[in-house]
């Protein structure tokens, strides 16, 4: 149990082992542990971030869908309105066209009737003149009796 130079040997060995541990063992193992810790922390943070982003994306999608629905119904309304308007327009156009053609036809008929009347009148005056000539036995100067003729024509 006596103390001797063994102490010195042990002290030297102690420092040697501590130095070797400090140089070749501790930093490697603790470094690996700390790096893994960092990795895990990063992974967890990334997971959180991804979840948050997913939620944000979901919310965005929801609003987009609502917006799209609104827009679609708006477009539908517009289309319906437009269709109604176009139908109305077409109807009006058609009615106007009908009116126009109708009045045109009526005018033509009237014109024709007038023309026929005129012709008839001419013919009647001619007949009247011819008849009068026959009755009078002489020629009627149409110019001399223009006033008279005209009155006659009007009367017919």
């Amino acid at each position: 149990m006596n103390l001797n130079v063994t102490i010195l040997i042990q002290i030297l060995a102690f420092f040697a082992v501590v130095w070797l541990t400090m140089k070749y063992i501790w930093p490697h193992i603790l470094g690996a542990m700390e790096e893994r810790e960092k990795k895990i922390a990063n992974g967890l943070a990334a997971g959180d971030r991804a979840e948050k982003e997913l939620n944000q994306a979901k919310a965005k999608v929801d609003t987009l869908i609502v917006e799209a629905k609104e827009q679609a119904s708006h477009i539908k309304d517009q289309a319906t309105q437009m269709a109604t308007k176009i139908k109305e327009q077409a109807k009006n156009d058609a009615l106007a066209e009908k009116e126009r053609q109708f009045s045109a036809a009526k005018a033509e008929i009237e014109q024709e009737a007038n023309r026929a009347k005129e012709a008839l009148r001419q013919q009647v005056s001619a007949l009247a003149i011819a008849g009068t000539e026959q009755l009078l036995g002489k020629e009627v100067d149409a110019n001399k009796h223009a006033d008279l003729l005209d009155d006659l024509i009007k009367e017919i």
């Binding site: 006596n2 010195l8 042990q10 060995a13 063992i25 490697h28 193992i29």
Partner: protein
């Protein structure tokens, strides 16, 4: 297992507690080397370095192997203790704590080997004396304690500056704002500090030594149950089987208990070293 001149129970135990001495300078006891303690201490230290280095070389931040996991458990445990107890900044202290813990534990572990196994093999090889537990040798425990104390002095001087350390020796623990009173208590402070400083390595070394030495002694006492009994006596006599059974049960119980003790002692040695080194890093500027 008793030697020629050592017979009986006393001789058996004495023989077991005898170191193998290598006389570097014949006639001068200081130059005696306990060669068995040195060799087993170096084997334990080498085993620690080899095993941990093997893992450190392949240490990966990815999925660790079983061995790496086990080593990381120890390193993490030691690191937690260092972070908790040591507030200074030093690259040396954490590896030092790991070294102390593992090395002391491995040296203590030799205590769990059957007390006669290695000495008997040694005797067959012609080695008369062999003490296989280095921590039952005061030289080894004092070697470790003094190694720690050298670092305590070193850090005290580096952190507090030589003058600051000297001043602290005279002005702590008793301090006064009154200059006269301060001078009056200075001798007591110095005395207390010397006692405290001396107590540190002594408490470190003696605690470890005492626990392991007594543990080894109890293993030896238990081994005495079947001392000098021939194998045939275990079956041919009545007392033989009984003694063997009692010895087995007692050894087993003490062994299980001792697993706790060797771990606890290694832990205490590490923690006290950390506390002493932390004290060396504390600068008292509040007085």
């Amino acid at each position: 297992m008793a030697g020629k001149e050592n017979t009986g129970v006393g001789g058996y135990i004495e023989h077991h507690l005898q170191n193998n001495v290598l006389e570097l300078v014949p006639g001068n006891p200081f130059w005696n080397v306990h060669i068995d303690s040195v060799i087993y201490s170096l084997i334990a230290g080498g085993l620690f370095l080899w095993f941990f280095r093997r893992v450190a070389k392949k240490a990966t931040a990815g999925v660790p192997s079983r061995t790496q996991n086990f080593i990381e458990m120890i390193v993490g445990f030691v690191n937690d203790q260092v972070v908790d107890s040591f507030k200074g900044k030093s690259k040396l202290v954490a590896p030092l704590a790991l070294t102390i813990f593992m090395w002391v534990w491995l040296m203590n572990f030799m205590d769990l080997l059957p007390v006669d196994l290695l000495p008997a093999i040694g005797q067959k090889a012609g080695i008369e004396y062999m003490k296989i537990v280095p921590t039952t040798d005061l030289n080894i425990t004092f070697g470790l304690a003094i190694g720690v104390m050298i670092l305590v002095f070193y850090y005290s001087i580096v952190v507090k500056t030589p003058l600051g350390y000297l001043k602290e020796l005279f002005t702590h623990p008793f301090a006064s704002k009154n200059a006269l009173a301060q001078i009056a208590v200075a001798p007591f402070n110095l005395l207390l500090n010397i006692v405290e400083t001396l107590a540190k390595p002594i408490s470190l070394a003696l605690r470890l030594f005492g626990n392991l030495y007594s543990g080894e002694l109890i293993f030896l006492l238990i081994a005495v149950f079947t001392l000098d009994m021939a194998l045939s006596q275990l079956v041919t006599t009545i007392s033989g089987p009984i003694m063997a059974t009692v010895q087995f049960i007692l050894t087993f119980m003490w062994l299980v208990f001792h697993i706790l003790i060797i771990t606890l002692q290694a832990y205490i040695f590490m923690m006290l070293s950390l506390v002493y080194l932390n004290m060396a890093h504390e600068v008292h500027d509040d007085h």
